[in-house]
């Protein structure tokens, strides 16, 4: 059947408009898809979709226990902050454990990265397990968060509740696996001090807020032993805050060396 005189297919203006809309959609889609595969620049806040990802815990454990994961974290950090692999930069790493210490570490991150130390020659930069500061997580951290290991370790009637939505998890996750996966991530991050020190030519200074920390948590069981090995090789210097109010630029607030590690609480 031939189109009627009012058919859009016979109206050149409508055809032109449809073409423009079609091209605009293609451009928008390619922009969005392209943007999803790139890392956020330091001037742009990272986007967190909080979209759950259901990964096999056995495969994830293999991934985070592989030393190659350390290199992946290092590459992600350098993509955000090239100074972390620039010869001469004094890189610092922050660790925390126990209540009240997270805020102290965030304060240290701001003091170093946002204060005069960042502009010194050579510059100082501090990183932690989540990212290069308190705002931009490494893609691997964000992925760990989106994998929701602890939510998946405690399903309700076979369903996993994540931010009010119910999901069916194709894998069974145990509490022990969730702990082991986060421990693996933390160990690989601690070991990141090695490629950093080798790239910058300077030992990494490690700042630990662990007042009140317990012996069975990740800091004392995983991170500190990894850091001690690097300390023995001269790749890191370890400092412990005497209190949660310790100021980064006041050395009287710190205890140096793993030989002086504060005892964990029982």
């Amino acid at each position: 059947m031939a189109p009627s005189p009012d058919s859009p297919l016979e109206n050149p203006r409508i055809l032109l408009l449809a073409g423009i809309v079609f091209l605009a959609c293609i451009l928008a889609a390619s922009f969005l898809l392209g943007g999803a595969s790139t890392t956020a620049p330091a001037s742009c806040p990272a986007v967190s979709s909080h979209q759950p990802v259901f990964v096999d815990p056995v495969e994830k454990l293999k991934q985070v226990r592989d030393p190659a994961y350390t290199q992946q974290l290092f590459s992600e950090a350098v993509a955000y902050e090239p100074l972390l692999a620039t010869p001469g930069t004094q890189v610092h790493m922050g660790f925390y454990s126990a209540k009240g210490n997270h805020g102290s570490l965030l304060r240290l991150l701001d003091t170093v990265n946002e204060g005069p130390a960042a502009k010194e020659d050579p510059p100082n930069r501090v990183i932690w397990a989540m990212g290069i500061n308190g705002y931009y997580p490494y893609p691997s951290w964000e992925r760990m968060m989106n994998e929701h290991w602890y939510e998946r370790a405690f399903p309700v009637n076979g369903s996993v509740m994540i931010f009010g939505e119910s999901y069916r998890d194709p894998y069974q996750v145990t509490f022990e696996q969730a702990d082991a996966i986060w421990a693996g991530y933390s160990e690989r991050f601690a070991e990141m001090a090695e490629p950093v020190a080798k790239a910058t030519g300077k030992p990494v200074k490690v700042w630990c807020f662990v007042e009140g920390a317990k012996a069975d948590r990740i800091f004392y069981t995983i991170e500190l032993p990894a850091l001690k090995k690097l300390e023995d090789q001269g790749l890191v210097e370890i400092y412990f805050a005497k209190s949660q109010d310790a100021e980064w630029n006041n050395m009287a607030d710190w205890i140096k060396g793993s030989a002086n590690t504060p005892a964990p609480v029982a």
Binding site: K99, A153, M161, F163, F175, W182, I218
Partner: protein, 118 residues
């Protein structure tokens, strides 16, 4: 609509506040960014006053602080080491911080497990 401090908060507003607070991914000790959370919550609930949004965020903050303590005790074995330990801990959280939905408690509990892992 409930008033700040009332014992019966609006469940939808409160649940949204819990999701916002917990999705920050940080332990509950730092509430410096709560103004932004209050604005985001009021953006989701245009009919709610800023006071109600602030109250909901404050309640969610308290829940997250209590979840930290409960999860710390859970890891110490305070609620036992068997398969019922998690449910016992979640009930303890409910007693410590009443007024939330079962999903909110479970959400806070699993967030607390991450915070206390380190």
């Amino acid at each position: 609509m409930y008033q700040p401090g009332d014992d019966v908060p609006d469940p939808a507003l409160l649940s949204a506040a819990v999701s916002l607070v917990l999705s920050q991914g940080f332990p509950p000790e730092n509430s410096a960014g709560d103004d932004a959370l209050v604005r985001r919550l009021c953006g989701q609930f245009p009919l709610a006053s800023p006071e109600l949004c602030l109250d909901a965020v404050n309640r969610a903050r308290k829940l997250s602080r209590d979840a930290y303590d409960i999860c710390d005790a859970f890891r110490d074995g305070t609620y036992g080491r068997d398969s019922n330990a998690a449910d016992t801990a979640i009930r303890a959280l409910e007693e410590k911080s009443p007024g939330f939905s079962p999903d909110n408690y479970r959400q806070a509990f699993t967030a607390g497990l991450l915070w206390t892992a380190f």
